[in-house]
């Protein structure tokens, strides 16, 4: 018996070791999706006591307010990603290309450090800071920018502020990683060929940093789409987003089936987005390859001309 076990082990050793991870993924990620999908299409008829397939919950979502809520969450996530990008790119650029070597890692980590604390702590810190008697209000009143009765909480601007501050490091890191790895000789070459700093940035640095930018946008857009703690605590529950609706459906109003349908639709969005991005890049890659193929053919055809 032991020999047989040993034989199996040595023959399939790589499978044995790589299996748990894939199994974990399957059991705790893909099966839940299957369960959610099941919940969203199967309903229980209390009269007859039997289960039946239904598209009721999906129809409910598409014919009413929920689509608008999803669109709004999409908008918020897009705004967050855009603002993060505008702030993160200069910071990453500075750290990667201009920072002195010794302090680079320290600076980078001190940027990421605030996000290592719990999300709840960060959100509460902003609540505390922005409240009427908090530091920022006091400062703005002291400089007479706002009147004493004005305060900063419970509006859209505050929500965006909270989101950006929580997700900014996730945008900085990928861009920094890509810029850091970039060969600096490209910059020298570009300068040698006569381009000034703006030109270099526009045509060399920025296109090369695009993979990092995409990664950053993914890392910020998708989590901020599903965020619910920030709008609740900083927005005074006056704004309803996809995340808060799902929490409400699951924990408050006990309509799990509707919640599951909403969740499925919400997952589809990032997946579609990622597919679009991949497709776009694949198409562009194909186009580029075809272009370079045409170019080499052209060169070969006119070899005698070029010598």
């Amino acid at each position: 018996m032991k020999k047989a076990l040993r034989a199996i082990f040595t023959q399939e050793s790589s499978f044995v070791f790589s299996c748990p991870a894939v199994l974990w993924q399957f059991v705790f990620l893909y099966m839940p999706f299957a369960v959610l999908a099941l919940y969203s299409v199967i309903d229980f008829n209390e009269v007859t006591g039997r289960y039946f397939l239904t598209a009721f919950y999906y129809r409910e979502i598409f014919t009413s307010l929920y689509i608008q809520i999803i669109f709004r969450s999409f908008l918020l996530a897009a705004i967050t990603a855009a603002v993060c990008f505008l702030i993160a790119y200069p910071v990453a650029y500075f750290l990667a290309l201009k920072g002195s070597k010794r302090f680079k890692t320290f600076l980078l980590f001190s940027l990421i450090f605030p996000s290592w604390t719990s999300l709840i702590v960060q959100v509460y810190a902003w609540f505390f800071l922005l409240e009427k008697n908090g530091f920022i209000s006091w400062f703005l009143q002291w400089t007479h920018i706002i009147s004493p009765s004005f305060h900063l909480l419970n509006n859209y601007f505050t929500i965006v502020l909270g989101m950006v501050s929580c997700f900014l490091p996730f945008m900085i890191l990928p861009i920094y990683a890509v810029l850091e790895k970039m060969d600096k000789r490209f910059l020298e070459a570009s300068a040698d060929l006569g381009a000034d700093r703006f030109e270099t940035f526009r045509r060399v640095v920025f296109p090369m940093s695009l993979p990092g930018v995409y990664a950053g946008i993914m890392l910020v857009f998708i989590p901020s789409f599903g965020e619910f703690a920030i709008p609740t605590l900083l927005g005074g529950s006056k704004y309803v987003f996809w995340g808060s609706v799902i929490v409400d459906k699951f924990l408050r109003s006990r309509s799990w089936r509707l919640g599951a349908a909403l969740a499925i639709i919400g997952i589809m969005l990032p997946i579609l987005l990622m597919c679009c991005v991949y497709l776009g890049r694949a198409i562009r890659e194909r186009y580029r390859q075809r272009q370079s193929k045409e170019y080499t053919e052209y060169l070969n055809a006119n070899k005698d001309l070029w010598g």
Binding site: I8, Q11, E12, F15, V16, C19, P20, L23, V27, L65, Q68, I69, R72, E131, K132, N133, H151, L153, N154, G236, S237, K238, Y239, V240, V245, D248, F250, L251, R252, S253, R254, S255
Partner: protein, 377 residues
């Protein structure tokens, strides 16, 4: 041909081997996940799982109970009744022995058959309870629940802005446009309000203010209520229950529709606020202790409930957090500390203004959906 068959056989063997490996892993995983179930069956130690709202049982009281009876307590905290209801719907409340829920949830759970009947021979302290809290519509014979704590939804307001006596205080101050009220000279300045964030209670109070009725609403009334709530959003600062004291004390808003639980804390910090039950009516919320049917420690649970309802412990708990206890002497002790007349200590005449909303689940679902519209606006 033979080669093909060999390959197929090899493939099949490999598949079998791999399935066996996957099977082993799955068995280990299942065992690890289901182990707690076995634990809860074989636990011989005397423990009690309590599921309660925050700020209900003070740590001192828990310690006292553990010392006196040797039963260990595990408390889990919930915030909303619906949360508790959802957990009951999942597995019938397995894992909990004593649960602290509000009135309408008691009715829902008892109707679904999730609760055990209380054995009054083990509960001598039930006699110490305030009689006006017993025998209410959600559990007429108190067969399944006993009140532990109660509070009201009413208005907390700044006396300097609203120079109205508490008896005259009205929901109109919250549901009507403050600009209009200011123009008519009823208030000294325009303001914003804090509103409760629970759809059912908001609907009920809105119905009271519009129609002065408190039973089920018709579809037209439902639309009218939704319209009023949508309109109200323009002058709502925040939909919250808990952060109300912050918004009041920092002067952001002068009036809030909120629960009476926070009033004592506010009184401790400032003299300028008063609590009033509006003349159209308010909401009475009674929090009860119940025992799930699935609990096997009924006797221990009864001991816990009896302990918590006793005079000294009820006083301890309510002193700690400032809410009103269902135990008569505890309530009197707390009230005597604040030597003032107020709607917080309602006499019969004011107490009659309070209602317990009991909507059908269909009505509640409608309210939830409409609340989404209010939130989205």
């Amino acid at each position: 041909m033979n080669e093909r068959l060999d390959k197929l056989a090899a493939c099949a063997r490999r598949l079998m081997r791999r399935s066996a490996i996957v099977g082993v892993y799955l068995v280990v995983l299942m065992a690890a996940l289901y182990v707690p179930l076995l634990f809860s069956y074989f636990k011989t130690q005397r423990t009690l799982n309590v599921y309660a709202f925050t700020e209900t049982f003070s740590p001192e009281a828990i310690e006292l109970f553990e010392e006196r009876t040797g039963i260990k307590i595990n408390i889990t905290y919930a915030e909303l009744d619906e949360e508790i209801g959802a957990k009951f719907a999942i597995n019938g409340g397995i894992g909990y022995d004593v649960v602290n829920v509000s009135d309408f949830m008691v009715r829902h759970l008892s109707k679904q058959g999730y609760l055990q009947k209380l054995d009054y021979s083990c509960l001598p302290n039930a006699a110490r309870l305030n009689p006006r809290l017993l025998g209410r519509v959600f559990d007429p014979k108190n067969a399944y629940s006993l009140p532990h704590k109660w509070f009201m939804y009413g208005l907390v307001y700044d006396k300097n802005v609203f120079k109205v006596s508490p008896d005259q205080m009205s929901l109109a101050f919250v549901f009507n446009d403050p600009e209009q009220l200011y123009k008519k000279g009823l208030v000294s300045r325009p303001y914003r309000v804090c509103m409760i964030d629970s759809p059912m209670d908001a609907y009920f109070l809105s119905m009271l203010s519009l129609f002065n009725r408190f039973d089920q609403f018709t579809p037209q009334e439902f639309d009218a209520i939704t319209r009023q709530l949508l309109q109200q959003k323009q002058w709502v600062e925040c939909y919250t229950l808990y952060t109300v004291e912050y918004f009041l004390l920092s002067g952001i808003i002068p009036i809030a529709l909120t629960s009476s639980n926070f009033v004592r804390k506010i009184w401790d910090m400032s003299d300028q606020y008063e609590f009033a039950i509006p003349r159209e009516g308010g909401i009475l919320v009674i929090e009860n202790l119940v025992i799930p049917k699935t609990s096997r420690k009924g006797d221990l649970a009864h001991e816990f409930i009896n302990f918590m309802l006793s005079d000294e412990v009820a006083t301890l708990n309510s002193q700690e957090y400032g809410w009103t206890s269902a135990n008569k002497s505890a309530q009197e002790t707390l009230d005597a500390q604040y030597k003032r007349k107020s709607h917080l200590f309602p006499d019969e005449h004011v107490f009659k203004r309070l209602h317990i909303p009991l909507f059908t689940s269909y009505a509640r679902r409608c309210a939830d959906d409409a609340w989404l519209r209010v939130g989205f606006a």
